[in-house]
């Protein structure tokens, strides 16, 4: 069992951080019934945990995210963590005041135990044998990480998109362990249209001849084409029609038509580039698993007639719910369902609908009003 050390990141412009690994030997029974006998979770922390461990904030990542939320690994790194505009010294989630934790969820491909990890029972990569994990399983594993770090109760748990679903589940599963929930660009459950997009993405991977039923590691292949297509499709849905129009329009790469199937339009070039970049850095099995976790999440699953209000009734936290006007993948109406359920229960909730042209991706963008709201809310969290 590795020892947990609290590492405090320095409050400089380019916070230099390091990832850590927590090992768990207590078996985790997953929602599917499968059991993970042992597993690792990779995580990073920023800021300093105070004496009574009351200033901890957990950041839950979305589909393709990971534990590297903020800062850089070396001063010379060009690209900081994925939510570096939100988390850091003097930023809306101010690491001078809060102890922030980012982790890679189970099933991930950035160091936490997942399909490409070695299965201790076989000595090979899990591949297809890695069990499907759900939002509920992630939250359970995150709670164990919190136990290891000595955090009884989080000051706040926050996340966008799939991350927001984890936040919702935290509030239901461990009501006494979270004081504030920030649910951003999320939904209480996916719509049929959303599941449909996910399945097309999965089909692209599953039907790639290099997929080998998920055991491509043994075959020394990689379903690159499938993952690339899946990401291209995803990208279309993360952007708004508006922003695609203003950014790319019908701009041609070489000024004229090529009368062929190579890149004519800038948007094609952009999507292919995004697909390539992603296919080089992400694991296809993890992508499959994460999209399935999205599809499965539904707090009303066991009692659909009782509705979301009943599902959220156990929550004791105060909520800040944020949506973005042009987000059609996780539209404002879906956030308002969450707000309505909380209002039905008389729970503490504030809701803001941010005007943005950036679609679903807006939650990762440094919008001044959005950041001011989070900053203001964090005053309440610390107060």
């Amino acid at each position: 069992m590795s020892r947990i050390t609290m590492q405090s990141a320095s409050s400089t412009q380019n916070m230099v951080v390091a990832a850590q690994t927590a090992h768990f030997d207590t078996p985790l029974t997953l929602k599917s019934g499968a059991v993970l006998d042992s597993y690792d979770l990779v995580y990073e922390t920023y800021g300093t945990l105070n004496a009574d461990a009351s200033n901890a904030i957990l950041v839950c990542h979305a589909l393709s995210g990971n534990h590297h939320v903020a800062g850089v690994y070396e001063a010379s790194d060009k690209k900081p963590g994925w939510w570096d505009n939100m988390v850091g010294a003097g930023k809306p989630i101010d690491t001078d005041r809060f102890f922030v934790i980012g982790l890679n969820n189970l099933g991930g491909c950035h160091g936490s135990t997942g399909p490409k990890s070695i299965n201790p029972a076989t000595g090979h990569a899990y591949g297809a044998a890695f069990p499907l994990v759900t939002v509920e399983d992630w939250v359970a594993s995150q709670a164990r990480l919190a136990d290891k770090l000595g955090i009884r109760q989080f000051a706040a748990i926050m996340g966008g998109s799939l991350g927001g679903m984890q936040v919702l589940h935290w509030s239901i599963a461990y009501p006494e362990r979270v004081r504030h929930c920030l649910v951003i660009a999320s939904a209480p459950k996916l719509t049929a249209q959303n599941i449909a997009f996910n399945d097309v993405a999965r089909q692209a991977i599953l039907t790639d001849p290099d997929f080998h039923g998920g055991d491509y590691y043994q075959h020394d292949t990689y379903p690159r084409r499938g993952l690339r297509l899946a990401r291209m499709l995803g990208h279309i849905t993360y952007l708004s029609d508006d922003v695609m129009g203003s950014k790319f329009g019908r701009i041609l790469r070489q000024g004229g038509f090529n009368y062929g199937y190579d890149v004519d339009f800038e948007i094609e070039s952009y999507l292919r580039y995004q697909g390539d970049k992603f296919a080089d850095s992400f694991d296809a099995n993890t992508y499959l698993l994460m999209t399935k976790a999205l599809d499965y999440f539904d707090p009303t699953h066991t009692a659909p007639e009782a509705g979301l209000s009943a599902a959220l009734a156990p929550a004791q936290a105060a909520f800040l719910v944020i949506s973005f006007t042009t987000d059609w993948r996780f539209a404002p109406e879906r956030s308002r369902e969450i707000v309505k359920a909380l209002l039905d229960n008389g729970q503490q909730v504030s809701y803001a609908e941010i005007v943005s042209k950036h679609g679903h991706d807006a939650f990762l963008m440094p919008d001044a009003h959005y950041h001011a709201l989070v900053r203001a809310y964090m005053e309440r969290v610390s107060g």
Partner: protein, 193 residues
């Protein structure tokens, strides 16, 4: 500094009441009700700047256009619904009054009294009134439905709304006589009949 109608509203709201403030602005009334009455309160506000101010003031706020109704709020989910200095800026005046008494048994409305003598005088002199309570030029005003106290009471009668209490003020002082002429700001408490 507490706005003059806020004190009256706070007097009417019982301790630990569930209160919804429509068009809550920067959330000062909500904060006052939270601090003095331990109210369980939410505001509804459309403007980004005001939503931010509410969060800064530590009150619950839901960003929404009141003209679209109050569908997030269940029937009888509040003790009081407040509409302070917002009625005159609403397009759907009747709809919002009905919505108020759907989500709560009782409502409080405050508005600038167009019947106030100084307003009438300006009209007689040939101008639209500009005053402390109606501080806008006619071409640059959010107000679309200004009314006198008589007008408001007639609408309540039409909508089967029972007026329980009425406080009228001018420059922060209570007015008791000839209120529709001497009062610049009207505050009403009403209930479903």
């Amino acid at each position: 500094m507490i706005r003059q109608d806020f004190k009256t509203i706070a007097d009417w709201v019982p301790v630990r009441a569930k209160v919804l403030d429509l068009g809550c602005g920067d959330g000062k009334l909500l904060k006052h009700l939270q601090d003095t009455k331990q109210a369980h309160a939410y505001g509804v506000e459309l403007s980004d700047a005001n939503v931010l101010a509410c969060v800064q003031n530590g009150v619950n706020v839901i960003q929404r256009d009141l003209e679209a109704g109050l569908s997030e709020f269940a029937n009888d989910s509040f003790d009081y619904v407040v509409l302070s200095q917002t009625l005159q800026a609403m397009h759907h005046t009747e709809a919002i009054l009905r919505e108020m008494l759907r989500v709560a048994h009782a409502g409080i409305v405050t508005f600038p009294n167009f019947g106030y003598w100084k307003n009438r005088l300006q009209v007689i002199r040939g101008h639209m009134p500009v005053s402390t309570d109606i501080p806008y030029q006619w071409y640059d005003t959010p107000n679309v439905h200004l009314c006198t106290m008589h007008d408001f009471e007639a609408l309540c009668a039409k909508l089967d709304i029972r007026i329980c209490e009425r406080v009228v003020m001018t420059a922060g002082k209570r007015v008791h006589f000839m209120q529709n002429l001497a009062g610049s700001l009207a505050v009403y408490r009403f209930e479903r009949n």
